[in-house]
Amino acid sequence: MQNYLIEIFGSEIVAYILATVPVLAFIVVFVLFAVWLERKVSAHMQDRLGPMRVGWHGVLQTLADFLKLLQKEDIVASANDKALFNIAPYVVFVTTLITYTMLPFTSIFIGSNADVGIYFVLAFSGAVVAGILMAGWASNNKYSLYGSLRSAAQIVSYEIPTALVVLTMIMLYGTLSLGDITTAQTSQFWNWGIFGGPVLGIGKILLVPFMFVAFIILFISTLAESNRTPFDLPESESELVAGFNTEYSGIKFSMFFLSEFANMFLIGAILVIFFFGGYNSPFGYLGNLLGIEWLIPIEQLFWFLGKGMFFVFVDMWLRWTLPRVRVDQLMTICWKYLIPYAFFNLLIVGLILLI
């Protein structure tokens, strides 16, 4: 896609800037939709209706809320560290946005099919910590500080099981590029990562249970990395008021909000790419059947978003069902359970791949 844009505009910089537009637009539209969905999902789980007034079943509610947030006064308290305070929300948002460049939305649209794809995603989703720490420290508020320190400890800890599972999957596919990982799972759904990926023969049957374990570990640890319930300690509203974003208002607050929801889709997308075939259809394409070639990318986009949204929905489902764990229990889950299991899993998968 970039090459095409470079041809049209004759300038690499313009082409790359334009290539980010669909991603940015996607994030904004997705967040508007996801916030509405979250409110509707929670409402229906709790015997309520949720927003009903603004548009059909309240679909425009988040747009209205967003416009309201834009008009809010941008409060910077006198005791805040101004430079850090102002820059932190953008650091958090940009690091989340950057990771989207690596996601293969369809076979023809991928921001960058870099060879280091997943490594890049892990690096930048870890870099969110910097922004959160900046926000917490610069706010000069004890609740913010607690929230950001919890968040730093949490994200850094859960990077380890995430990385271990990712390593397992890299061994399976033999590549770090997210585009190539998706391509490796094409044609039939039994080529998906959860069913042992492109491996053939007896190894495939042996792999299935371990892939399932890997999936569970990756799901839990990415959930924790995106600060969602039951691991939403950095912003646990009943203890720390709002955690690291207590002092923020207006557009800066909405930046944190945007990146939280963008993160939700990101972890869904990562799970889908590793375990559920990325944009691949489980049944083959209608476009192939009818001989319409341009239909295929649209179908791929549908499957990618559909599968990703399913995991977003599961996140919401968990959030409105479970209480929150305590900070020491959070660390126990990570260090005492997830990391040893992930190591063990890595070892076994390696052995199976050798035979």
């Binding site: 929670s42 789980m45 709790q46 015997d47 309520r48 004890k142 609740y143 607690y146 319930t229 039951p230 939403d232 300690l233 646990s236 509203e237 009943s238 203890e239 720390l240 008021v241 409105w320 069902t321 479970l322 209480p323 929150r324 764990v325 305590r326 900070v327 020491d328 229990q329």
Partner: protein, 369 residues
């Protein structure tokens, strides 16, 4: 490395202090070294006000103390005045008072259980319980028109007789409500994360609970079988068959947050039993026949205590023979419960302070009066 303690002011504006309470936490990292509650943000001089009003005028003020259990505040106050004046209220009034009191206990416990879950991050049970509480408030509404502050029990009687539909609707409510307690247990009580968060947290052994003066579910959560409805019976509670649930340390230690929570869950069932027995026995009669034209007790003092949903609610009234009470002193259960948090929370984490506070079920309107 040099470390120092940090002071964190939790409240008065904080989502889980259950009102305008300020807790001064002395922290070492996340570990709590000391908790000092600061109260008085909601002080409305109830006790002083009462001295300037007639006995009957005090009743609506008692509503506003524990605003989640207004019926029971009325119950205690009119009981004290009736004891002072030696009034025997009609049977019908006694039965209706007990039914209303127990419905109010359920409503109050539902709020306590729901907000406790909310403090631990479980949002959904809270709304389920509020949905059920609405049904109780509907029953109160058809009875006296109010949903929160009833002014229903008057000295010597009641402000209104029950609605013709009341008995039927109450029975419907009991049938509807029983399964939702099971639902609550499935969703929250025996949830693994919930148990991890509450078992062995804020442990208060029986001896310490007695020393602290705890009462009600907080005392029973520590395993002390003490309930004023049985141990110092008042009104007509001696006629009903019900049990006193106590904390048994089912998932942790006796007297932990989970025990205090579970005692409330079980008490809801016992209250339903009392209502079931009472609702069929309501005798005929006139509820306002015995209401005195002029409430003017003889010179003397009285202390009357009742088992309010939060614990022992006591009214100490001094009468100088005039139409105004010379002194009204309230022994508020939440006030005593809150004073225990300093001992209970020491050594636990910040998140546990929220859990312990939630398990004590305090209402600031009652603490500050």
């Amino acid at each position: 490395m040099k470390t120092e303690e940090m002071i964190l002011n939790m409240g008065p504006q904080h989502p889980s202090t259950h009102g305008v309470l300020r807790l001064e936490l002395v922290l070492d990292g996340e570990v709590v070294h000391d908790v000092k509650p600061h109260i008085g943000y909601l002080h409305r001089c109830f006790e002083k006000h009462a001295e300037a009003m007639t006995y009957a005028q005090v009743v609506p003020y008692t509503d506003r103390m524990d605003y989640l259990a207004s019926m029971y505040n009325n119950f205690g106050y009119v009981g004290a005045v009736e004891k002072l004046m030696d009034i025997k209220v009609p049977e019908r009034v006694e039965y209706i008072r007990v039914i209303m009191g127990e419905l109010q206990r359920i409503a109050s416990h539902l709020v306590a259980l729901g907000t406790f879950g909310l403090d631990l991050g479980a949002f959904t049970p809270f709304l389920y319980l509020f949905r059920d509480r609405e049904k109780i408030l509907d029953l109160f509404e058809i009875t006296c028109g109010a949903r929160l502050l009833y002014n229903y029990m008057w000295v010597g009687g009641l402000s209104h007789d029950i609605h013709p539909d009341f008995v039927r609707k109450t029975k419907e409510f009991i049938n509807y409500f029983r399964p939702t307690v099971v639902e609550l247990n499935n969703l929250l009580t025996f949830n693994k994360i919930f148990i991890e968060r509450t078992a062995n947290i804020g442990v208060c052994p029986a001896k310490e609970a007695i020393n602290l003066g705890l009462s009600g579910p907080n005392l029973r959560g520590s395993g002390v079988k003490f309930d004023l409805r049985k141990n110092d019976t008042y009104s007509i509670y001696d006629r009903f068959d019900f049990e006193i649930p106590v904390g048994e340390g089912l998932v942790g230690t006796v007297g932990d947050c989970w025990d205090r929570y579970y005692v409330r869950v079980q008490e809801v069932e016992q209250s339903l039993r009392i209502i079931e027995q009472a609702i069929d026995q309501i005798p005929d009669g006139d509820v306002s026949k015995e209401i005195p034209r002029r409430v003017k007790p003889p010179v003397g003092t009285v202390y009357h205590r009742v088992e309010a949903p939060k614990g022992e609610l006591g009214y100490f009234i001094v009468s100088d023979g005039s139409v105004n009470p010379a002194r009204v002193k309230v022994r508020a259960p939440s006030f005593v419960s809150l004073s225990a948090i300093g001992q209970m929370a020491k050594g636990y984490l910040v998140a546990d302070v929220v859990a312990i506070l939630g398990s004590l079920d305090i209402v600031l309107g009652e603490i500050d009066r």
